[in-house]
Amino acid sequence: MKTEPIHRTSMWKFKLSAATMTLIPAAVGINYVAKALAEGLKLPVWLGSLGTFLASMLAGPVAGAISGFINNVIYGLTLSPISTVYAITSIGIGIAVGVLHANGWFSSARRVFVSAIIIAIVSAVISTPLNVIFWGGQTGIAWGDSLFAVMVANHAPVWLASFTDEFVLDILDKVCVAYLAFFIYRQLPQRMVHFFRDDK
Protein backbone atom coordinates (compact mmCIF):
# COMPACT_ATOMS: atom_id res chain seq x y z
CA MET A 1 0.00 0.00 0.00
CA LYS A 2 1.32 3.40 -0.90
CA THR A 3 1.45 5.85 1.97
CA GLU A 4 1.26 9.56 1.38
CA PRO A 5 3.50 11.92 3.34
CA ILE A 6 1.68 13.79 6.08
CA HIS A 7 1.18 17.38 5.08
CA ARG A 8 0.11 19.71 7.86
CA THR A 9 -2.16 22.47 6.60
CA SER A 10 -2.44 25.93 8.13
CA MET A 11 -3.99 25.95 11.60
CA TRP A 12 -6.58 28.51 10.47
CA LYS A 13 -7.88 26.31 7.70
CA PHE A 14 -11.17 24.94 8.87
CA LYS A 15 -13.68 22.53 7.44
CA LEU A 16 -16.60 21.22 9.42
CA SER A 17 -15.68 17.58 8.80
CA ALA A 18 -17.52 14.69 10.41
CA ALA A 19 -14.62 14.36 12.89
CA THR A 20 -14.84 17.98 14.06
CA MET A 21 -18.62 17.82 14.06
CA THR A 22 -18.51 15.13 16.72
CA LEU A 23 -15.48 16.57 18.53
CA ILE A 24 -17.21 19.89 19.29
CA PRO A 25 -20.19 18.41 21.19
CA ALA A 26 -17.77 16.13 23.06
CA ALA A 27 -15.69 19.16 24.05
CA VAL A 28 -18.79 20.96 25.30
CA GLY A 29 -19.68 17.85 27.29
CA ILE A 30 -16.19 17.69 28.80
CA ASN A 31 -16.49 21.36 29.83
CA TYR A 32 -19.78 20.64 31.51
CA VAL A 33 -18.66 17.48 33.31
CA ALA A 34 -15.33 18.99 34.45
CA LYS A 35 -17.22 21.95 35.89
CA ALA A 36 -19.62 19.64 37.69
CA LEU A 37 -16.68 17.61 39.04
CA ALA A 38 -14.92 20.75 40.33
CA GLU A 39 -18.11 21.91 42.02
CA GLY A 40 -18.62 18.46 43.55
CA LEU A 41 -15.13 18.44 45.04
CA LYS A 42 -15.49 22.09 46.13
CA LEU A 43 -12.35 23.07 44.23
CA PRO A 44 -11.65 26.82 44.16
CA VAL A 45 -11.44 26.64 40.34
CA TRP A 46 -14.07 26.23 37.62
CA LEU A 47 -12.32 23.82 35.21
CA GLY A 48 -15.16 24.68 32.82
CA SER A 49 -12.85 25.28 29.86
CA LEU A 50 -11.08 21.90 29.81
CA GLY A 51 -13.03 20.70 26.77
CA THR A 52 -12.35 23.93 24.90
CA PHE A 53 -8.62 23.49 25.62
CA LEU A 54 -8.65 19.90 24.34
CA ALA A 55 -10.67 20.76 21.22
CA SER A 56 -8.21 23.55 20.38
CA MET A 57 -5.25 21.26 20.92
CA LEU A 58 -6.76 18.46 18.84
CA ALA A 59 -8.38 20.33 15.96
CA GLY A 60 -7.02 23.89 16.02
CA PRO A 61 -8.13 27.35 17.17
CA VAL A 62 -11.32 27.52 15.08
CA ALA A 63 -12.71 24.25 16.46
CA GLY A 64 -11.78 25.39 19.98
CA ALA A 65 -13.44 28.76 19.51
CA ILE A 66 -16.63 27.13 18.20
CA SER A 67 -16.65 24.69 21.14
CA GLY A 68 -16.29 27.56 23.59
CA PHE A 69 -19.01 29.58 21.91
CA ILE A 70 -21.51 26.71 21.76
CA ASN A 71 -20.65 25.76 25.33
CA ASN A 72 -21.73 29.15 26.67
CA VAL A 73 -24.76 29.44 24.43
CA ILE A 74 -26.08 26.03 25.52
CA TYR A 75 -25.21 26.73 29.13
CA GLY A 76 -26.96 30.08 28.87
CA LEU A 77 -30.09 28.68 27.29
CA THR A 78 -30.46 25.85 29.79
CA LEU A 79 -28.95 26.89 33.14
CA SER A 80 -27.75 30.45 33.58
CA PRO A 81 -28.79 33.00 30.93
CA ILE A 82 -26.11 35.59 31.71
CA SER A 83 -23.32 33.15 30.90
CA THR A 84 -24.28 33.49 27.22
CA VAL A 85 -22.46 36.83 27.00
CA TYR A 86 -19.27 35.20 28.30
CA ALA A 87 -19.25 33.21 25.05
CA ILE A 88 -16.91 35.95 23.79
CA THR A 89 -14.43 35.02 26.53
CA SER A 90 -14.65 31.36 25.57
CA ILE A 91 -13.97 32.20 21.92
CA GLY A 92 -10.87 34.12 23.04
CA ILE A 93 -9.69 31.20 25.15
CA GLY A 94 -10.22 28.73 22.29
CA ILE A 95 -8.22 30.85 19.85
CA ALA A 96 -5.42 31.53 22.35
CA VAL A 97 -5.01 27.83 23.19
CA GLY A 98 -5.08 26.79 19.53
CA VAL A 99 -2.44 29.33 18.48
CA LEU A 100 -0.17 28.56 21.46
CA HIS A 101 -0.47 24.81 20.90
CA ALA A 102 0.24 25.08 17.17
CA ASN A 103 3.39 27.06 17.99
CA GLY A 104 4.68 24.45 20.40
CA TRP A 105 3.81 26.22 23.66
CA PHE A 106 2.21 23.07 25.06
CA SER A 107 5.26 20.86 24.54
CA SER A 108 6.81 20.91 28.02
CA ALA A 109 5.63 21.50 31.58
CA ARG A 110 7.54 24.79 31.80
CA ARG A 111 6.09 26.13 28.55
CA VAL A 112 2.57 25.16 29.65
CA PHE A 113 2.93 27.53 32.60
CA VAL A 114 3.75 30.45 30.30
CA SER A 115 0.81 29.51 28.05
CA ALA A 116 -1.51 29.38 31.04
CA ILE A 117 -0.53 32.93 32.06
CA ILE A 118 -1.10 34.25 28.52
CA ILE A 119 -4.49 32.52 28.35
CA ALA A 120 -5.45 33.92 31.77
CA ILE A 121 -4.60 37.45 30.58
CA VAL A 122 -6.69 36.97 27.41
CA SER A 123 -9.60 35.65 29.45
CA ALA A 124 -9.44 38.41 32.08
CA VAL A 125 -9.13 41.21 29.51
CA ILE A 126 -12.28 40.02 27.71
CA SER A 127 -14.26 39.23 30.88
CA THR A 128 -13.61 42.46 32.79
CA PRO A 129 -15.86 44.76 30.68
CA LEU A 130 -18.62 42.14 30.86
CA ASN A 131 -18.26 41.93 34.66
CA VAL A 132 -18.48 45.71 34.94
CA ILE A 133 -21.53 45.97 32.68
CA PHE A 134 -23.53 43.14 34.24
CA TRP A 135 -22.30 42.81 37.82
CA GLY A 136 -20.80 46.20 38.63
CA GLY A 137 -17.36 44.52 38.42
CA GLN A 138 -17.88 41.45 40.59
CA THR A 139 -17.20 37.84 39.55
CA GLY A 140 -19.45 35.95 41.97
CA ILE A 141 -16.59 34.02 43.62
CA ALA A 142 -16.40 34.99 47.29
CA TRP A 143 -12.69 35.53 47.82
CA GLY A 144 -12.17 37.27 44.47
CA ASP A 145 -15.05 39.59 45.31
CA SER A 146 -13.67 40.36 48.78
CA LEU A 147 -10.46 41.46 47.06
CA PHE A 148 -12.62 43.61 44.77
CA ALA A 149 -14.42 45.13 47.78
CA VAL A 150 -11.12 45.96 49.53
CA MET A 151 -9.75 47.65 46.41
CA VAL A 152 -12.92 49.67 45.73
CA ALA A 153 -13.03 50.68 49.42
CA ASN A 154 -9.50 52.05 49.00
CA HIS A 155 -10.66 54.16 46.03
CA ALA A 156 -9.06 52.05 43.32
CA PRO A 157 -10.78 52.50 39.93
CA VAL A 158 -13.57 49.95 39.34
CA TRP A 159 -11.88 48.73 36.15
CA LEU A 160 -8.62 47.95 37.92
CA ALA A 161 -10.37 46.31 40.88
CA SER A 162 -12.54 44.22 38.58
CA PHE A 163 -9.58 43.18 36.44
CA THR A 164 -7.61 42.12 39.53
CA ASP A 165 -10.62 40.21 40.85
CA GLU A 166 -11.03 38.37 37.53
CA PHE A 167 -7.31 37.88 36.91
CA VAL A 168 -6.42 36.19 40.22
CA LEU A 169 -9.28 33.73 39.72
CA ASP A 170 -8.39 33.21 36.06
CA ILE A 171 -4.71 32.60 36.67
CA LEU A 172 -5.44 29.83 39.18
CA ASP A 173 -8.13 28.30 36.97
CA LYS A 174 -6.17 28.47 33.72
CA VAL A 175 -2.97 27.05 35.27
CA CYS A 176 -4.96 24.07 36.62
CA VAL A 177 -6.85 23.55 33.35
CA ALA A 178 -3.71 23.94 31.20
CA TYR A 179 -1.85 21.28 33.20
CA LEU A 180 -4.87 18.96 33.21
CA ALA A 181 -5.22 19.37 29.43
CA PHE A 182 -1.46 18.85 29.00
CA PHE A 183 -1.49 15.58 30.99
CA ILE A 184 -4.67 14.29 29.37
CA TYR A 185 -3.47 15.15 25.86
CA ARG A 186 -0.29 13.15 26.44
CA GLN A 187 -2.34 10.14 27.55
CA LEU A 188 -4.49 10.14 24.41
CA PRO A 189 -3.89 7.28 21.99
CA GLN A 190 -2.05 8.43 18.84
CA ARG A 191 -4.82 7.16 16.53
CA MET A 192 -7.20 9.57 18.28
CA VAL A 193 -4.86 12.55 17.92
CA HIS A 194 -4.41 11.85 14.21
CA PHE A 195 -8.10 11.21 13.67
CA PHE A 196 -9.17 14.59 15.02
CA ARG A 197 -6.23 16.50 13.58
CA ASP A 198 -7.46 15.33 10.19
CA ASP A 199 -3.98 14.99 8.65
CA LYS A 200 -4.28 14.58 4.92
Binding site: I30, V33, A34, L37, L41, L43, I74, S80, D145, F183
Partner: protein, 263 residues
Protein backbone atom coordinates in the same frame (compact mmCIF):
# COMPACT_ATOMS: atom_id res chain seq x y z
CA UNK B 1 -31.53 19.57 34.02
CA UNK B 2 -30.90 18.69 30.43
CA UNK B 3 -31.99 15.13 31.00
CA UNK B 4 -35.53 16.41 31.31
CA UNK B 5 -37.53 14.28 28.92
CA UNK B 6 -39.94 17.02 27.87
CA UNK B 7 -36.97 19.15 26.85
CA UNK B 8 -35.50 16.42 24.71
CA UNK B 9 -38.51 14.89 23.04
CA UNK B 10 -40.93 17.78 22.71
CA UNK B 11 -44.14 15.89 23.37
CA UNK B 12 -46.45 15.82 20.35
CA UNK B 13 -49.77 17.46 21.14
CA UNK B 14 -52.95 17.89 19.19
CA UNK B 15 -54.01 21.18 20.71
CA UNK B 16 -51.09 23.54 21.01
CA UNK B 17 -50.75 26.09 23.79
CA UNK B 18 -50.43 29.79 22.95
CA UNK B 19 -46.68 29.81 23.54
CA UNK B 20 -46.16 26.89 21.17
CA UNK B 21 -47.39 28.80 18.15
CA UNK B 22 -44.69 31.41 18.66
CA UNK B 23 -41.52 30.42 16.86
CA UNK B 24 -38.14 30.16 18.67
CA UNK B 25 -36.52 33.05 16.77
CA UNK B 26 -39.31 35.40 17.86
CA UNK B 27 -38.70 34.34 21.45
CA UNK B 28 -34.97 34.97 21.12
CA UNK B 29 -35.59 38.39 19.56
CA UNK B 30 -37.95 39.08 22.43
CA UNK B 31 -35.12 38.35 24.92
CA UNK B 32 -32.88 40.74 22.97
CA UNK B 33 -35.51 43.51 22.96
CA UNK B 34 -36.25 43.17 26.67
CA UNK B 35 -32.51 43.29 27.46
CA UNK B 36 -32.03 46.37 25.29
CA UNK B 37 -35.06 48.07 26.85
CA UNK B 38 -33.65 47.37 30.28
CA UNK B 39 -30.28 48.87 29.27
CA UNK B 40 -31.93 51.84 27.54
CA UNK B 41 -32.79 53.70 30.71
CA UNK B 42 -31.63 53.70 34.33
CA UNK B 43 -35.22 54.34 35.44
CA UNK B 44 -36.04 51.87 38.22
CA UNK B 45 -39.80 51.97 37.52
CA UNK B 46 -39.18 50.83 33.94
CA UNK B 47 -37.06 47.94 35.26
CA UNK B 48 -39.79 46.88 37.68
CA UNK B 49 -42.30 47.04 34.81
CA UNK B 50 -40.11 44.83 32.63
CA UNK B 51 -39.67 42.33 35.47
CA UNK B 52 -43.46 42.25 35.91
CA UNK B 53 -44.03 41.61 32.20
CA UNK B 54 -41.50 38.76 32.19
CA UNK B 55 -42.91 37.26 35.38
CA UNK B 56 -46.45 37.36 34.00
CA UNK B 57 -45.31 35.63 30.80
CA UNK B 58 -43.67 32.92 32.88
CA UNK B 59 -46.75 32.51 35.08
CA UNK B 60 -49.05 32.19 32.07
CA UNK B 61 -46.81 29.68 30.27
CA UNK B 62 -45.34 27.24 32.73
CA UNK B 63 -42.92 27.40 35.62
CA UNK B 64 -40.28 24.83 36.32
CA UNK B 65 -37.20 24.34 38.43
CA UNK B 66 -34.72 25.53 35.76
CA UNK B 67 -35.74 29.16 36.17
CA UNK B 68 -35.60 28.91 39.94
CA UNK B 69 -32.08 27.48 39.81
CA UNK B 70 -30.91 30.31 37.59
CA UNK B 71 -32.63 32.82 39.87
CA UNK B 72 -31.11 31.30 43.02
CA UNK B 73 -27.56 31.80 41.84
CA UNK B 74 -28.06 35.36 40.66
CA UNK B 75 -30.05 36.42 43.73
CA UNK B 76 -27.02 35.55 45.87
CA UNK B 77 -24.82 37.67 43.60
CA UNK B 78 -27.30 40.53 43.66
CA UNK B 79 -27.24 40.54 47.47
CA UNK B 80 -23.44 40.73 47.56
CA UNK B 81 -23.62 43.45 44.90
CA UNK B 82 -26.01 45.47 47.07
CA UNK B 83 -23.61 45.19 50.03
CA UNK B 84 -20.41 45.99 48.13
CA UNK B 85 -21.84 48.87 46.06
CA UNK B 86 -23.88 50.17 49.02
CA UNK B 87 -20.70 50.45 51.05
CA UNK B 88 -18.02 51.35 48.52
CA UNK B 89 -19.59 52.72 45.27
CA UNK B 90 -17.37 55.58 44.07
CA UNK B 91 -20.20 58.15 43.80
CA UNK B 92 -21.52 57.44 47.31
CA UNK B 93 -22.56 60.63 49.14
CA UNK B 94 -25.84 60.35 51.04
CA UNK B 95 -26.08 57.91 53.92
CA UNK B 96 -29.36 56.01 53.69
CA UNK B 97 -29.15 53.92 56.87
CA UNK B 98 -26.58 52.48 59.25
CA UNK B 99 -26.33 48.96 60.63
CA UNK B 100 -23.96 48.41 63.60
CA UNK B 101 -22.10 51.59 62.76
CA UNK B 102 -21.62 50.66 59.09
CA UNK B 103 -23.27 53.14 56.74
CA UNK B 104 -25.02 52.14 53.56
CA UNK B 105 -25.16 54.83 50.87
CA UNK B 106 -28.11 55.68 48.68
CA UNK B 107 -26.24 56.05 45.36
CA UNK B 108 -24.54 52.67 45.58
CA UNK B 109 -27.73 50.90 46.58
CA UNK B 110 -29.64 52.42 43.66
CA UNK B 111 -26.85 51.49 41.25
CA UNK B 112 -26.77 47.87 42.51
CA UNK B 113 -30.58 47.62 42.43
CA UNK B 114 -30.58 48.76 38.81
CA UNK B 115 -27.92 46.19 37.82
CA UNK B 116 -29.83 43.52 39.75
CA UNK B 117 -33.08 44.40 37.97
CA UNK B 118 -31.37 44.10 34.57
CA UNK B 119 -30.05 40.65 35.49
CA UNK B 120 -33.53 39.59 36.62
CA UNK B 121 -35.09 40.85 33.39
CA UNK B 122 -32.63 38.79 31.34
CA UNK B 123 -33.07 35.66 33.46
CA UNK B 124 -36.85 35.79 33.51
CA UNK B 125 -37.26 36.43 29.77
CA UNK B 126 -34.74 33.71 28.93
CA UNK B 127 -36.61 31.51 31.38
CA UNK B 128 -39.68 31.95 29.19
CA UNK B 129 -37.67 30.70 26.20
CA UNK B 130 -36.18 27.80 28.16
CA UNK B 131 -39.45 26.38 29.46
CA UNK B 132 -41.47 26.80 26.28
CA UNK B 133 -39.18 25.44 23.56
CA UNK B 134 -38.00 21.87 23.22
CA UNK B 135 -34.66 20.88 21.76
CA UNK B 136 -36.16 19.01 18.81
CA UNK B 137 -38.40 22.00 18.02
CA UNK B 138 -35.32 24.24 17.96
CA UNK B 139 -33.42 21.84 15.73
CA UNK B 140 -36.21 21.57 13.19
CA UNK B 141 -36.81 25.32 13.21
CA UNK B 142 -33.15 26.28 12.90
CA UNK B 143 -32.79 24.05 9.88
CA UNK B 144 -35.99 25.40 8.37
CA UNK B 145 -34.75 28.97 8.76
CA UNK B 146 -31.64 28.25 6.71
CA UNK B 147 -28.88 27.17 9.11
CA UNK B 148 -26.81 24.33 7.67
CA UNK B 149 -27.81 20.93 9.01
CA UNK B 150 -24.22 20.33 10.10
CA UNK B 151 -24.36 23.31 12.46
CA UNK B 152 -27.73 22.18 13.72
CA UNK B 153 -26.33 18.73 14.36
CA UNK B 154 -23.39 20.13 16.35
CA UNK B 155 -25.70 22.31 18.45
CA UNK B 156 -28.27 19.68 19.17
CA UNK B 157 -26.09 16.63 19.72
CA UNK B 158 -24.66 18.29 22.84
CA UNK B 159 -28.01 17.83 24.52
CA UNK B 160 -28.00 14.13 23.75
CA UNK B 161 -24.35 13.54 24.64
CA UNK B 162 -24.46 15.16 28.09
CA UNK B 163 -26.69 12.62 29.89
CA UNK B 164 -24.56 9.85 28.42
CA UNK B 165 -21.37 11.51 29.71
CA UNK B 166 -22.84 11.99 33.16
CA UNK B 167 -23.66 8.26 33.28
CA UNK B 168 -20.12 7.39 32.18
CA UNK B 169 -18.68 9.70 34.83
CA UNK B 170 -20.66 8.06 37.63
CA UNK B 171 -19.54 4.62 36.47
CA UNK B 172 -15.87 5.66 36.40
CA UNK B 173 -16.14 7.39 39.78
CA UNK B 174 -17.59 4.26 41.34
CA UNK B 175 -14.91 2.08 39.79
CA UNK B 176 -12.16 4.38 41.11
CA UNK B 177 -13.70 4.49 44.58
CA UNK B 178 -13.68 0.70 44.76
CA UNK B 179 -9.93 0.81 44.12
CA UNK B 180 -9.51 3.14 47.10
CA UNK B 181 -9.06 6.92 47.24
CA UNK B 182 -6.14 9.04 48.36
CA UNK B 183 -6.52 11.77 50.99
CA UNK B 184 -7.98 14.96 49.48
CA UNK B 185 -6.97 17.88 51.64
CA UNK B 186 -4.72 20.23 49.71
CA UNK B 187 -5.51 21.71 46.32
CA UNK B 188 -2.81 19.60 44.65
CA UNK B 189 -4.21 16.39 46.18
CA UNK B 190 -7.72 17.31 45.07
CA UNK B 191 -6.54 18.08 41.53
CA UNK B 192 -4.68 14.76 41.43
CA UNK B 193 -7.86 12.97 42.48
CA UNK B 194 -9.63 14.54 39.48
CA UNK B 195 -7.20 12.96 37.01
CA UNK B 196 -8.17 9.26 37.50
CA UNK B 197 -11.76 10.21 36.67
CA UNK B 198 -11.12 12.75 33.93
CA UNK B 199 -8.58 10.82 31.85
CA UNK B 200 -10.75 7.71 31.30
CA UNK B 201 -13.80 9.92 30.82
CA UNK B 202 -12.16 12.12 28.19
CA UNK B 203 -10.74 9.13 26.34
CA UNK B 204 -14.08 7.33 26.41
CA UNK B 205 -15.93 10.44 25.23
CA UNK B 206 -13.51 11.06 22.37
CA UNK B 207 -13.64 7.39 21.46
CA UNK B 208 -17.42 7.54 21.24
CA UNK B 209 -17.08 10.70 19.14
CA UNK B 210 -14.84 8.85 16.73
CA UNK B 211 -17.36 6.02 16.45
CA UNK B 212 -20.16 8.54 15.93
CA UNK B 213 -18.19 10.38 13.28
CA UNK B 214 -17.47 7.17 11.36
CA UNK B 215 -21.11 6.09 11.49
CA UNK B 216 -22.22 9.55 10.31
CA UNK B 217 -19.96 9.23 7.29
CA UNK B 218 -21.18 5.70 6.60
CA UNK B 219 -24.80 6.78 6.72
CA UNK B 220 -24.09 9.46 4.15
CA UNK B 221 -24.53 12.54 6.31
CA UNK B 222 -22.71 14.58 3.67
CA UNK B 223 -25.14 13.41 0.99
CA UNK B 224 -26.38 16.49 -0.92
CA UNK B 225 -29.76 14.84 -1.63
CA UNK B 226 -30.82 14.84 2.01
CA UNK B 227 -34.53 15.20 2.70
CA UNK B 228 -35.61 17.71 5.29
CA UNK B 229 -38.33 16.93 7.80
CA UNK B 230 -41.23 19.35 7.42
CA UNK B 231 -41.75 21.40 10.51
CA UNK B 232 -44.81 22.81 12.21
CA UNK B 233 -46.34 26.14 11.28
CA UNK B 234 -46.16 29.25 13.40
CA UNK B 235 -48.40 32.29 13.54
CA UNK B 236 -47.27 35.64 12.21
CA UNK B 237 -43.61 34.73 12.54
CA UNK B 238 -42.42 36.96 9.70
CA UNK B 239 -44.21 40.06 10.94
CA UNK B 240 -43.02 39.47 14.50
CA UNK B 241 -39.41 39.05 13.36
CA UNK B 242 -39.47 42.30 11.42
CA UNK B 243 -41.08 44.36 14.16
CA UNK B 244 -38.89 42.95 16.94
CA UNK B 245 -35.72 43.46 14.92
CA UNK B 246 -36.88 46.99 14.11
CA UNK B 247 -37.41 47.70 17.79
CA UNK B 248 -33.94 46.36 18.61
CA UNK B 249 -32.31 48.60 15.99
CA UNK B 250 -34.32 51.57 17.25
CA UNK B 251 -33.25 50.97 20.85
CA UNK B 252 -29.56 50.59 19.94
CA UNK B 253 -29.75 53.71 17.78
CA UNK B 254 -31.40 55.69 20.56
CA UNK B 255 -28.80 54.55 23.08
CA UNK B 256 -25.94 55.60 20.79
CA UNK B 257 -27.68 58.93 20.05
CA UNK B 258 -28.05 59.78 23.74
CA UNK B 259 -24.44 58.69 24.43
CA UNK B 260 -23.10 60.97 21.67
CA UNK B 261 -25.12 63.95 22.84
CA UNK B 262 -24.17 63.29 26.44
CA UNK B 263 -27.73 63.13 27.70
Amino acid sequence: MMTDQTLISGTPQVKRKWYQVIDPITKLLFILDMTLLSFASPNLLLQVGLILVATLLLLFSKLNSTTFKALGFSLFLIVTMLIIQGLFYSHNQTVLFSVLGISFYKEGLIYATMLGCRVLVIILTSGFFMVTTSISENAAYLEQSGLSYKTVYVLMSVCYILPEMMRNMRKIQQAQKVRGTNPQKTLIQKLKSVLPVLIPLVIKTLDQSMARSISLQLRGFDNPNRTVKTSQQYHLSRMLHISLTGLAILLIGWKIWTKINGL
